[in-house]
């Protein structure tokens, strides 16, 4: 029998929760030191990346490995719009910047939206050929496209400044922008998933052919999911660029490695769960920072252990493999952290205790 909390209670709890989080963010902004605050902001950025990838991979079942490409598009687009014409003129020393980009200068919101929109456009174009492929091939094809985007970034020097990348990007990604966008992303995606569309996407994940036979235009719905996911990936790219303040197209942090990181987040949190993605993103960010200590010399049982570079990503990859082998469903599985579920979980605990 389905025990549901009354709708009004649900709404009030959610509202209180949001206010509580806002309050925590305010405190964080005031009290935390620079370094910790950076991590807190990064959690939100990772959150947007994770939730958007989860929509594509976890909920719709499209095994896309091209997320880093969309993030990169968002990063470049937004940065090229927020950098002042003077900065652009000074940075583009190999080849001058194309005239139609030279004098554009907008605010952060417009730049972020532009980043998302351009990513969405790319996704729309890439989706046409790629989404017709089956699972494994789709993965490689999407990875391929992400690589092509990176190659383009390295070579279209008059647009992206090639291997020199972009520097001096204003650090607009404040805690409010990051969490504001995270909020928008979660609300949008959750609302989509909790609708007939969401059911259709899940049906596609369960059984493509049966979904098609039930009247669902599988291709169109996959494309919608892909484009929406890419839009928010672009947004996360914009936030990321204005958190990093530089874009280096040769760095591993913006290449396929980034897609793998986001994949780890959503697998760890539970493939198919929005709240799981958020938990995964937070865990990953914290774990990643905490493991940074492994790369510096530390003391273990009274002995001095030298720090090894690259140790933390190694540990993360081991954790990832272990999760895949022994705990595929991840933390949340496909369930969500709703008030109803928490209530039921508490009830069950109460009954057995």
């Amino acid at each position: 029998m389905e025990r549901k909390l009354p709708k009004k209670l649900n709404f009030v709890l959610t509202l209180l929760f949001i206010l509580f989080v806002a309050f925590l963010l305010y405190l964080a902004n005031e009290k935390l030191d620079e370094y910790m605050l950076r991590v807190v902001r990064l959690i939100a950025i990772y959150g947007v990346m994770a939730v958007s990838l989860n929509l594509i991979n976890g909920i719709t079942g499209i095994f896309s490995l091209g997320h880093a490409g969309f993030i990169l598009v968002g990063a470049y687009t937004s940065a090229l719009l927020t950098l002042s014409p003077e900065q652009k003129m000074m940075s583009f020393i190999i080849e001058p910047i194309v005239p139609w980009l030279a004098n554009v200068h907008t605010d952060f919101l417009t730049a972020t939206l532009a980043g998302g929109a351009l990513s969405a456009l790319f996704a729309f174009l890439i989706g046409w050929p790629v989404l017709r492929l089956s699972g494994d091939y789709l993965a490689i094809a999407s990875l391929g496209f992400a690589e092509v985007i990176r190659i383009f970034a390295l070579n279209a020097i008059s647009i992206t400044n090639g291997p020199l990348g972009l520097k001096g990007i204003p650090e607009y990604s404040s805690i409010w922008w990051c969490y504001g966008w995270l909020f928008v992303t979660v609300i949008f995606v959750a609302s989509l998933v909790n609708s007939s569309y969401g059911r259709a996407l899940k049906a596609i994940r369960e059984d493509r052919v049966a979904a098609e036979v039930m009247g669902i235009n599988v291709f169109k719905h996959q494309l919608i999911s892909f484009v929406v996911g890419a839009f928010f990936a672009g947004v996360s790219g914009a936030l990321y660029a204005h958190w990093l303040t530089t874009i280096d197209p040769r760095a591993t942090t913006l290449g396929p490695m980034l897609t793998f990181y986001v994949l780890i987040m959503i697998v760890l949190g539970g493939l198919g769960s929005i709240s799981g993605s958020l938990i995964g993103a937070a865990l990953f960010a914290i774990l990643f920072e905490w493991l940074r200590d492994l790369e510096e010399p530390f003391v273990l049982f009274g002995m001095r252990v030298p720090g090894i570079k690259g140790m933390r990503t190694l540990v993360i990859s081991v954790i990832f493999i272990l999760v895949m082998i022994f705990w595929q469903r991840g933390i949340m599985g496909r369930e969500e952290l709703t008030w109803n579920n928490i209530y039921r979980w508490l009830k069950r605990r109460g009954e057995s205790g």
Partner: protein, 299 residues
């Protein structure tokens, strides 16, 4: 003519290298329907094994080569045993994601053990003069190394075809590619044969990688990613699951890349992108590849 010949030999060499790596992908996919993302990284480890054998343990080049190839084979077998075997019954996506994890793991392991700073494979050769020697073919000076690579590649493929078509274990491999449950009912130890397939593919990839490193001596932990990806594209191009397809696809891809770069030098930087364009085109026009069979999905 000279220009053409030089590029022709380069194309065959590069194509042969792609083919050596592609074969591993094809064999594993033919049996497990799994894209072994870690394949390119096993190749990378093989190159490092060779490097360390020669530079640190001062083994002569041929011994280093052998040690490295065997080491890579063992690594391939181990990866299958530890990471892929537990997931034989799991959904395909899980195995695929795990393969990505293994790839990730190997790259980072290399960073930790060998360091992220690139090394030069030329250090392997105590006597660097061998690298300078050339042979003249109709006015074109082709490096001796190129011929060496082509010959060794050819030899390795001969061994491969012999194993696959003339030995019992090769027959077992082909049987498993067709039907796993039936083969296991016939008394074949499926897991061991699968492990052997991984080992064989890894050995070939390592051989390819080592020869690649002789030509492009920049050795670093991420060196397997792009060649691995391209080799996979070559395998798909030729027909995934088919060994001859992998060879054909590899050679064609190598030739196309070399000639494209030679006759259109302005698109140098975009060279890598061509492979992906080929991939998309193949997947849309003839997904089963040049030599593959069309698979009908049974509803």
């Amino acid at each position: 003519m000279t220009f053409f010949l030089q590029n022709f030999f380069n194309g065959i060499m590069l194509g042969g290298l792609y083919a050596l790596i592609a074969v591993g992908y094809s064999m594993v996919y033919g049996i497990l329907r799994l894209i072994n993302f870690a394949h390119g990284d096993v190749m990378m480890m093989g190159v490092y094994f060779a490097y360390y054998s020669a530079v640190v343990f001062s083994l002569n080049p041929i011994l280093s080569f052998t040690v490295a190839v065997l080491g890579a084979a063992a690594l391939g077998f181990l990866i299958d045993r530890v990471a892929y075997k537990p997931l034989r019954k799991a959904p395909r996506i899980s195995a695929l994601i795990t393969a990505i994890g293994v790839s990730f793991f190997l790259e980072n392991l290399a960073v930790v053990i060998f360091g992220a700073i690139p090394k030069s494979f030329l250090d392997v050769f105590k006597d660097k003069s061998i690298l300078e020697k050339t042979i003249t073919v109709a006015d074109a000076r082709i490096p001796l190394l190129t011929f060496l690579v082509i010959i060794v590649t050819f030899a390795m493929f001969s061994v491969l075809f012999f194993v696959v078509y003339k030995t019992k274990i090769g027959m077992a491999m082909r049987a498993i590619a067709a039907d796993i449950p039936t083969t296991s009912l016939m008394g074949v130890n499926v897991d061991n044969v699968i492990g052997f397939t991984f080992a064989l593919g890894s050995a070939l990839a390592a051989a390819g990688g080592i020869m690649w490193a002789m030509r492009f001596p920049n050795v670093h932990p991420y060196m397997g990613f792009v060649p691995g990806l391209k080799a996979f594209i070559a395998a798909v191009f030729g027909g995934i699951g088919s060994i001859s397809g992998a060879v054909l696809g590899g050679i064609l891809l190598g030739m196309i890349e070399i000639f494209l770069a030679a006759y259109f030098p302005s698109v140098m930087g975009y060279r890598d992108a061509f492979a992906f364009i080929i991939l998309i085109t193949v997947l849309l026009v003839k997904p089963s590849g040049l030599l593959g069979k069309k698979a009908i999905e049974k509803v």
